[in-house]
Symmetry: C2
Subunit: 625 residues, 2 copies
Amino acid sequence: MTKAKRTIDDLTIWDDAIQMIRKAQKEGVETVWDRLEQQEPHCPFCEKGLTCQKCVMGPCRISEKKPRGVCGADADLTVARSFGRFVAAGAASHSDHGRDLVETLHAIGRGRTTNYKILDEAKLKRIADEIGVESTGKSIKELALAVAESMIQDYGFLHNNLGFLSRVPQKRKDLWNKLGITPRGIDRDIVEMMHRTHMGVDSDAVSLCLHSAKVCLGDGWGGSMIGTELSDIIFGTPTPKMGKVNLGVLKTDQSNILVHGHSPIVSEMLLNAVNDPEIKKEVQATGARGINMAGLCCTGNEVLMRKGIPMAGNHLMTELAIITGAVELILVDYQCIMPSLVQVSDCYHTKFVSTSDKALFTGAEHVEFNYTNAGSQALKVVRMAIENFGRRDQTKVEIPQEPVELMTGFSNEAILSALGGTPDPLIEALKAGQVRGAVGIVGCNNPKLKHDYVHTILARELIKKDILILVTGCATSAMGKAGLMMPAAANQAGEGLKAVCQSLGIPPVLHVGSCVDNARILHLCAVLANTMGVDIADLPVAASAPEWYSEKAAAIGLYAVASGIYTHLGLPPNITGSETVTNLALGGLEDVVGACFAVEPDPFKAAELIDARIRTKRTALGLDA
Amino acid sequence: MTKAKRTIDDLTIWDDAIQMIRKAQKEGVETVWDRLEQQEPHCPFCEKGLTCQKCVMGPCRISEKKPRGVCGADADLTVARSFGRFVAAGAASHSDHGRDLVETLHAIGRGRTTNYKILDEAKLKRIADEIGVESTGKSIKELALAVAESMIQDYGFLHNNLGFLSRVPQKRKDLWNKLGITPRGIDRDIVEMMHRTHMGVDSDAVSLCLHSAKVCLGDGWGGSMIGTELSDIIFGTPTPKMGKVNLGVLKTDQSNILVHGHSPIVSEMLLNAVNDPEIKKEVQATGARGINMAGLCCTGNEVLMRKGIPMAGNHLMTELAIITGAVELILVDYQCIMPSLVQVSDCYHTKFVSTSDKALFTGAEHVEFNYTNAGSQALKVVRMAIENFGRRDQTKVEIPQEPVELMTGFSNEAILSALGGTPDPLIEALKAGQVRGAVGIVGCNNPKLKHDYVHTILARELIKKDILILVTGCATSAMGKAGLMMPAAANQAGEGLKAVCQSLGIPPVLHVGSCVDNARILHLCAVLANTMGVDIADLPVAASAPEWYSEKAAAIGLYAVASGIYTHLGLPPNITGSETVTNLALGGLEDVVGACFAVEPDPFKAAELIDARIRTKRTALGLDA
């Protein structure tokens, strides 16, 4: 089976991307699309989840002719074990990111860092209260320490309980308890998944899928939520502000630094360094007219949400940003950083600098950041970028088009504040059908799908139907570039949503952050459900990861579903080799947790599926569909 | 490339196994060897570690034509990421097993169980002292609670330190610190590995291999060591005793119960139930002349070491034991329980009963054991076995040969006690060259290798060279069946070792336990090194996993190497697709951690390699080689 070769116009909907792909081809720079083409067709066994390399009696491939691996595992078990590890890695990634925030808070509490401090004291107290940490009589430092220590136990198994379960509607908690999927400890449940998927441990596909759900709930209501809330406490809770997006945020006449990855711990320090008065003087001494910091991926989301730092692009734009030839330095922390970026940087003068001891890159320069040295390391990195400006070959520079404006900063605090401090106006709008429902559009890009096509069409279709969009992660860039994150986009919405947006001065697509910030969406759902006295599964809401690629996105999808939120995926995980697992995902889970997955690559059809779901939920609540 | 079809004589060295494989063929029962044949040839990409299913931009296969995956990962990175998860799963398995013991101790400390109690109070106090828990003024219950709470923190990241690091020679600790591979928290390091191996996190093969070592050190000096020491505290520290091995331990005229898996938590309760006076009466009422409990795999090792319960066989004997037709019930906990055992049981009257909420088996009966119900559940299970005796078809029963006697119970405490309380006599024997060195032969079976051939030949060759063998896991059955675990086997040893064994009345192959009990070997090495004032890497010792198959075995191998112990493997892990990773394993690690792996399927050659290593180490210590 051969597929017709895709032209550049099949790869992406964006002019800036097309221009850079052409430049890459002209300059002989390999991109993600080239490698995808090389890798196609994919191994059908691996694609269906039917391979196993979990012991050296194998490797095994399951098929009709070979229905069992050497150990006796059939297709169901083989798929379920692999999927279990897949989501465990996703949950581990978010949670280990959250852990870095906990350690930073701990260091603040113990007075071991001067680089980081508490920016939102009120939120620290609020969070302490929510997780059952007494704040009376404690200094801010003491409270930081107590909150950090409580969260450290969320990762362990001394308490077998997560602090943020206090947010979960009782009906949902009862269901989780009944099913045995209440997360006990973030790390514990992940490690147990690795244990369960060892040969000869959990050998029942359904049991493994239930534990997968538990692990993911520990991500959503644990690791990710901790990551989000502590980032707000340390770096400030986002408030609405303006920003810009696309490759046009890079400057021809300035030293451009890209920050890429997921954590604000490094990028916030870099931002301080960029704004340092000494540095500003130093840059004037070079030919550059300034230093320009721009974001990629979720690190980009973090600094966009909090500081309005411009966003250069999402996952599939990361190579292309370097291909502009205008990037002096790309500073990375961790997650979703294609190893190819080192090779792409090598094709230009770009310095690729890694910062985390858990994410080295062969061929990169490593400048390790920790809570005692982050300030000075950030200055060092900025100086590297300033110095590197002199090496730029301006004849190779090509920065496409002007950036697009967007509105960002919609933390739950900001949303509630816009509503006058309570969720009631939103609930009233839902009841009245002005806002028929809400959908979180989240996740990545995948070169198998036309870049940002599914994201943008799906969002446009949904807002037409008076469905409010909350956006995070790489979907953000797509919405921003499409102009959907400006208040003016209310004109593209249905009459009800349009009126609500116009009265509040907000866009119909609200930016709520990075991919750990999907925890904000969970929290908001919980707030709505608790206020309305219903379960999350009763709400007219859904989630969608239209162009996902990563293990983290799969974990997010599963914690959404296990929390009662119907979730659309633009393409399936590698589970289709098992009827049991596939049927569970696409329907069976509905009876178990009150929600399931839908897989649909066509954004128009996906919008219909989501709309039908919201219709059903509205009817069940006694509302006009 | 086609291989000649193997005859039954190529599959195993044992008569009992051959007889049962013939019976299986006659009765149309599929075994592990049939499935291996079906699965051959294995996928060469998977076998070399060159496939990746860690995101849905792929799956990818790396080759000369396709040197990078869609993300840009090359062969080195692809292999290193997969290997990292492979050993992480192994470490997770041992450590999650250890966690169950910690929770049991915690329950004892909190007075929440009447099923379990402290059997070795002196050891509890000794361990408390070693891990820095004050025992003065505490009751045994209070001390149990304090030790449990300290060990809970070993899994977390509040302390970033493991209690048993107190055992590690200073020189080794300094090296680990320098390399950044000192384990910080058992779960934390495993979860970090899952994070690091997500797309776009750790993208350097050497960095991933070093973290793999760290994760495995957290297993050896953490999870496994906790598992071993707490099992001793709760169920008693093993002392030398006699036992029996092979399928002949099953009884034609009794109700046979097999225990299989890894943890003593279930099997010790079953043993109590089997010995219950009421039960003895009940069994008399049936046709059976008694209840006969026998062990398989590491659960078998646990009850053999502590209680002298007969051992039916190792990994490749588990299906064959059921094929005798004489097994009323097989009770499993977790790990290495081939899912096929459910189907094999279905071919006979055998009841397959699972007990752990983390290890369900499709088609099995589940009787969940926990610390509040274990006693009564064990009685229930024994009654199921008694009742099932009536369903046995005696015409289908075939129990091969008489069992072989062996000596077991060589905990470090027992070894030191045999030596008069100090390691000095052993050190003197090492210095004098009577015992030229010691080798731990550990691990599993693998149907790719002739069953127990490599184990037994290697052991025979080594004892001839005056090298003492410590044996654990599935290697135990092999040594026992070969008669090497009887004092009389000293006759097969070289003159020096023979004299030492005869003077102490011990065999030249000492049984030190199950696969978590490899921690005993680590501990003994540390005791020797500390007493001699050298590093573990300086000792004339080695490890060997001649017929390994599992992720746990790979983790054991890596913690041995990272602890400074040269380790032989009978076959390689799936890493040969990466020159960097393979060269590191087979040599490069020597410069990093002072030990490396050797892969050699031929036991005679392996013995030469190990002997050469011991020779080198003896010479370096100034001893006669």
